[in-house]
Symmetry: C3
Subunit: 267 residues, 3 copies
């Protein structure tokens, strides 16, 4: 039987000892786990970036995975810590809404518990590092088979965080950039199906108010080096890229940049 799968996602950065201490605290409870780093380089305290990250990553994990997710500007205040169960996966995370954009995709409601049972925490809990002192040991106990309802009482409300939504009008499909990847590709919130439906009607693409000359393609390599392209991303939204280049630099665009597709009105 394989070791329980636990993923780690934080904004702790790559040089600090926080990631190490959190791993140690978890492994002290159960060293027979399969630890997988997702990222420790989320933008500091940026819940929207965390929300986009989780929506893009969690759906690909198998049933039984436990995700520990820590972007926690409210650490040490009275914000709750949660155990969330949905689609046979579990998350341990501060109650800050980072997971609700992911949960939105599933018809079932999640089961959620508030972590209050201190016997599963480290004996001493600091005010500024609940990842090490609460979430990590609780992850260890869950991986040993502890049922989530031992961690605290179920709750039926929590912080909700939604990513900005697109709007479709007669003459325009309007959205914004949710993420810029390491290639400089601009990942927007324009849904692939909506985009494909109005593909024949696109008159112009406008980024941050500036019209851009751009080619509609299936993939980057369909265009010549240096061409700006618009395509369906691997996350099923619209993406703007430069073939073998960096669209973010080229367009001076980033997270939050507006993306507007001007449309010929339907007949």
């Amino acid at each position: 039987m394989s070791a329980p799968l636990i993923t780690l996602t934080t904004d702790f950065g790559r040089g600090s000892p926080y990631v190490a201490a959190m791993k140690g605290a978890l492994l002290t409870v159960n060293s027979d786990v399969h630890l997988v780093d997702l990222s420790h380089s989320l933008p500091p305290q940026d819940l929207r970036a965390c929300s986009y990250f989780l929506r893009s990553a969690i759906p690909y994990f198998p049933a039984g995975t436990l995700h520990v997710v820590v972007v926690d500007p409210g650490v040490g205040t009275d914000r709750a810590l949660l155990c969330v169960e949905l689609k046979n996966q579990r998350l341990l995370t501060p109650d800050n809404g980072c997971w609700t954009e992911w949960a939105r995709f599933w018809p079932q409601p999640p089961k959620v518990w508030k972590l209050t049972e201190k016997q599963y925490w480290r004996a001493e809990v600091s005010n500024t590092f609940h990842a090490r002192d609460i979430l990590a040991p609780v992850a260890g106990h869950l991986s040993l088979g502890l049922p989530p309802d031992k961690l605290g009482l179920p709750v039926i409300s929590w912080v909700e965080l939604a990513l900005p939504k697109h709007s479709l009008k007669n003459d325009a499909l309007v959205g914004e950039v949710l993420s810029v990847d390491s290639f400089g590709n601009l990942i927007t919130n324009l849904p692939a199906d909506v985009y494909l439906n109005c593909l024949q009607r696109i008159k112009a693409v406008v980024v941050d108010g500036q019209p851009v000359k751009i080619a509609q393609v299936r993939t980057y390599g369909d265009a010549a080096f240096g061409t700006l392209v618009i395509l369906v991303s691997s996350g099923d939204t619209v993406e703007i890229a430069e073939a073998h280049g960096n669209a973010a630099k080229r367009l001076q665009a980033g997270v939050g940049s507006s993306v507007k597709l001007l449309l010929v009105p339907p007949v």
Copy 2:
């Protein structure tokens, strides 16, 4: 039975093949180990940063953990390589003092061996990469159950490296910044217990010679956005932060910056 736990900490950086080659050399001796990356982004050749990192991370790991730690400006010279045993954990590291600040916290003396038995090394040893050619295979052999006294002779002296200490005077508690985390929080060497004892007597906080307006808090979220705060860090020292901001940027401060708490003299 779970696989032996081995952690890796280096200053090799994230893009180089050195981390990969070291992992390969270890796994070639024993592939049935539980490898955990702590960090490969320690500041290059910075033993003080390494010392702070280890002190902050190792105490959270379970008995039986083997830590391979490589910040090694003296590679290939006659500096020794050591196997250190303390508190049921082991370290493999160059003899540069990076571990002695951690060891200082424990009353027991460590057991230390000097690595000299070449049958546990790679057949060819380069002059510039002992992590791959000596430490990694030795870690593999230890994880297979080899007793440390097979690696070489015990030694009773080694390089000591101490982090700078605070000083407490009648009218001031004086220390410095040991580390800046990814949030820009300034982690000092002022001990929490000393700070808490003189909390009522603090007249002013002076960073790098400049008085700063600052709020005493329990955690970041206790103050309004943008407020400078002083608090006890998760490592039980004094920390200076900006609520939802970056104190290092705000104060233009960094590792080595002086931090002085001016005190009302005791009656």
Copy 3:
């Protein structure tokens, strides 16, 4: 029996969800694997950097290792995806030549298959993320024991990519910088054996056309702080470094910089 060893090497960067999604897709097929990150910070779309990385890392891994390597500027075009078998190790990678510099070192020819059997892929394959949708699940199936010849037909030709070669003349040994590590060391393509053969005849070292004052050493610590040194690297090529410093910054040199050793002609 230990879990199958699978390494991951990409240019996805450390903050994006791509690495996470790829890991999830692999673990969904087989969660009982030993996942090892080699690097996710290769320079974006830089096949030469990837080639250098693989040549420097793969030889240290044990028989049976499966390497998933993704630097894929041609994703979604008609470039093939390959399974390569050589020296009892396997690679899954786009057909872009990134592995051929490594393969050059072995007398045996590799066995290579083109991935065409879609039953081992994710049901939906995006045009821009074959790492997640094809390579990751195929890695999972291989780790479960699927023979490579089930993945597609064998092929006998593929893209070849060679790193630039040195040239040895009567009066000069000429090469270039292949890589700069995190210490600022300049790793060249001048072979150690060729260098050692002409060691007594070196009159001058010229980097990017500028003669540099440099000491011939065995290792960094053999010279005083701040001295430029030339030595044999851990990858058996010539390396230029600054003792306890950063040669790349000092010399304003980088990947592609020319390195010329002026020689006294042989008698």
